[in-house]
Symmetry: C2
C-alpha cells in the first residue's frame, strides 16, 4: 500500500472519488473501487426520485449499496451529510442502514463530528470527516474520527466560509493532526497528487475529474461543459447565504449581480428558494437534467484542466502515471548535486 491510509482503507491507490451526491450511483462507485481507488456513494445517488420519508430514503440507500456489492468486491464508502439544521431523520436512517449493510467506511460532511462518530466507531466503521479549517480538523480528531478530508476553497459544492485555498489548508491540517489527511479541492491529475502528498496528505479527493467519466450518471451536457470549460469556468457564490462553488452560469451571475448591487440577505435567500422551485429542483435540473444555464452544477476550480471523458480506471491509471512523470520532472530540477553546493553558497 502506498500510504498508511491506503492500507487502512484497503485500496491500491491514494485516490478517493469525492462524494458528489446526485453525480454518483452504484456503477460509478464500483468502477472507481474496482480500479483500486475508493468509490464513494452520495446521499442522493441513483435514479430513484428522492423522498421526504427517511425510511424510504434508507431503503433507497440499501438498494444502492447492494448494487455496488453486486458489481464490486473491493472497499467503498458511503457519504452522509449531517446538515447544519435540526432534522436528522435522513442522516440517522442512513447511518443505521450503512451499519446494517456492513459498509466499512463512512464519509461524514456538513455537520459536527460529535453527532455520529461514536455510533459508527462502535459498529467498526472507519470514519472520515470533511473539514475546511484547522480548527474543525482538530475538533474532528478529538472526537475520534479516523481521518479527515481537508477541503479547500477550490472544491466544488458547499465548503467552508473561511475560503482557505487547498494549497494553504492541506499542509496546515497535516501539521495540526496526527490522523491521516485526504487533500480535497481543485485536484484533477497527477500534478495535484504530487502536490498533495508533498503537503503531507495521504490521499486525494477527486470530484470534477470523475464527473467527466463514462460511468458518471450526470447529464452529457455537464460532462461536455467540463471538457469545454476554461480556467474561470467555476464560481464561488453565496457569501451571505450558503457559499457553494458551481459552474458559472445565468443562475450564479444573477445571484452575484443581486448580491453586489444591494440585495438584502432575505432577498437573496428568496431568490435561491424561488430558483429551487424549477422542475426537479435546480440541483437535479443541473446535474441530471443538463440545464447549464439555470441549474446548479457543482464542480471545482480544476475543471479547466479536464479535457476528455474517459473511464474511471483510466482516470486512476493516468493520475498515477502523471504523478510519476511529475516527480521525475521535479527531481530533474532539484538535483542532488545542486543540493550540496546550494547550502554552502547560501550560508556564505
Amino acid at each position: 500500500m502506498l500510504t498508511p491510509l491506503c492500507g487502512r482503507l484497503g485500496i491500491d491507490w491514494p485516490i478517493v472519488q469525492a462524494p458528489m451526491n446526485w453525480a454518483t450511483d452504484a456503477r460509478l462507485v464500483a468502477a472507481v473501487s474496482n480500479a483500486g481507488g475508493l468509490g464513494v456513494l452520495g446521499p442522493n445517488a441513483g435514479d430513484e426520485p428522492a423522498s421526504a420519508d427517511p425510511k424510504q430514503m434508507g431503503e433507497r440507500l440499501r438498494r444502492q449499496v447492494r448494487a455496488i456489492r453486486a458489481a464490486c468486491t473491493r472497499p467503498f464508502a458511503v457519504n452522509v451529510p449531517i446538515g447544519r439544521g435540526g432534522n436528522r431523520g435522513f442522516s440517522d436512517r442512513s447511518i443505521e442502514v450503512l451499519i446494517e449493510e456492513g459498509v466499512r467506511i463512512a464519509i461524514i460532511v456538513t455537520g459536527s463530528p460529535e453527532v455520529y462518530t461514536a455510533r459508527l466507531k462502535q459498529a467498526g466503521v472507519f470514519v472520515i470527516h470533511a473539514i475546511a479549517s484547522v480548527k474543525h480538523a482538530k475538533k474532528a480528531e478529538s472526537c475520534g474520527v479516523d481521518a479527515v478530508v481537508a477541503e479547500g476553497f477550490d472544491a466544488g459544492g458547499h465548503s467552508g466560509f473561511d475560503e482557505i485555498p487547498t494549497a494553504s489548508l492541506v499542509p496546515q491540517v497535516a501539521e495540526a493532526c496526527a490522523i491521516p489527511v485526504i487533500a480535497a479541492g481543485g485536484i484533477v491529475d497527477g500534478r495535484g497528487l504530487v502536490a498533495s502528498l508533498g503537503y503531507g496528505a495521504q490521499a486525494v479527493y477527486m470530484g470534477t475529474r470523475f464527473m467527466a467519466t463514462i460511468e458518471c450518471p450526470i447529464h452529457a451536457n455537464v460532462k461536455q461543459a467540463i471538457v469545454a470549460a476554461i480556467d474561470s469556468g467555476s464560481t464561488s457564490w453565496g457569501r451571505s447565504t450558503e457559499i457553494a462553488r458551481t459552474l458559472k452560469n445565468r443562475f450564479t451571475e444573477e445571484y452575484r449581480r443581486r448580491e453586489l448591487s444591494g440585495a438584502t440577505r432575505e432577498e437573496l435567500h428568496k431568490f435561491i428558494a424561488d430558483y429551487a422551485k424549477m422542475p426537479g429542483g435546480r440541483r437535479v435540473a443541473g446535474l441530471r437534467g443538463g440545464d447549464l444555464e439555470d441549474g446548479e452544477v457543482y464542480l471545482g476550480t480544476g475543471l479547466g484542466l479536464v479535457r476528455d471523458i474517459i473511464t474511471c480506471a483510466e482516470v486512476i491509471r493516468r493520475t498515477m502515471n502523471e504523478a510519476h512523470e511529475t516527480l521525475d520532472r521535479v527531481r530533474s530540477i532539484l538535483r542532488e548535486d545542486a543540493r550540496a553546493t546550494a547550502m554552502e553558497r547560501i550560508q556564505a
Copy 2:
C-alpha cells in the same frame, strides 16, 4: 542553474521575492539577491514619503536602485504597476529611470502588457508580466514578454476578479504558454516550491514569507501578526470595488458587513475612500505604521504556515532544504516498484 528561467535571470534558486510595494526597500532586495534569489523593489519602496510628482518619484526610485547596487552585485528587479486608470505619469517615469539606471529585469503588474513591453525590450530589459488568468497570460506572451507571474486567488494584494486559486491557475498557464511561468499566491515554503515545479512553473514568488524577515521594513506588529496568524487570518474583500487580500481585521470585516447587508457600490467606494484619509493612508498605516485593526495589510493565504521571523538567506536556505525533504517524502510514497505493478493491476 536549476531551471532555464534561473539561468536567464542569473539567479541560483528559483525563488523570487514578490514586489510588496511599501514592504520593500533596498536592504530587503539586496538581502534576497545576495542569497541567490531575485530581490524585487516595489514602487513605494523605502522610507521617503510618496509624492504626487512623477519626477520626484523617479528620483526616489533612482536612489533606491543605487542603494541596492551599493549593497549587492547580484541581479535584482524593479516592479512597476501600470494601474488600470489613465494617469501614467508615475509608471512612465519609473520605466525611464529603471532603463537609465541599467536595471535588467522589470516586473509589470496591474495593467496591459501592451503598454511598456516594446520600450523595455528595446532597452534590453527582461520583462516579467503578472497575470491571473490563462487569457491574460496568452495576451502577455503575444505582446513579447519574457516570462509571466501566474498569481492565484491565494495571493496577497490585488489580484484577478476571476478568483482562480494558485493550484488550478499555474498548471493551466504553464500548459498554455511557451514562456517561463513563475507561480504566485500562498507559497511560503519548500512544499509550495515542489508543488509549483510539479505544476510546470520555473520559479516561485514569495511575499508573505519575506515579510516575516529581519530585513523587511514593515512594522514589527505586522511581522508578529503573521507569526501569530491561523489559517483563516487573511481575507479577500472588495468584490464590487477593488478585490484585494489582506489581513482580516476591523476594516475588512466592516467592509464585508456592509457589502453583505445591502450597501451599494457607491457607498462601498466612499467607505474605502474615507478610510484612506486616515493619517498616512490606510496602506502605509497598516504596513509601515503597524495599525493591525484599521490598516490595510496585504498578505496571502500562506500566513498560517509562517511561524518565525528569520533572515532572507534563511528563508531561501530553508525553502530549498524543505523542497528536497518534500521530494524525498513523495518519492518514498510513489515508489518505482509500485509503479510497475500499478499499471498492470489497473489495466486488468
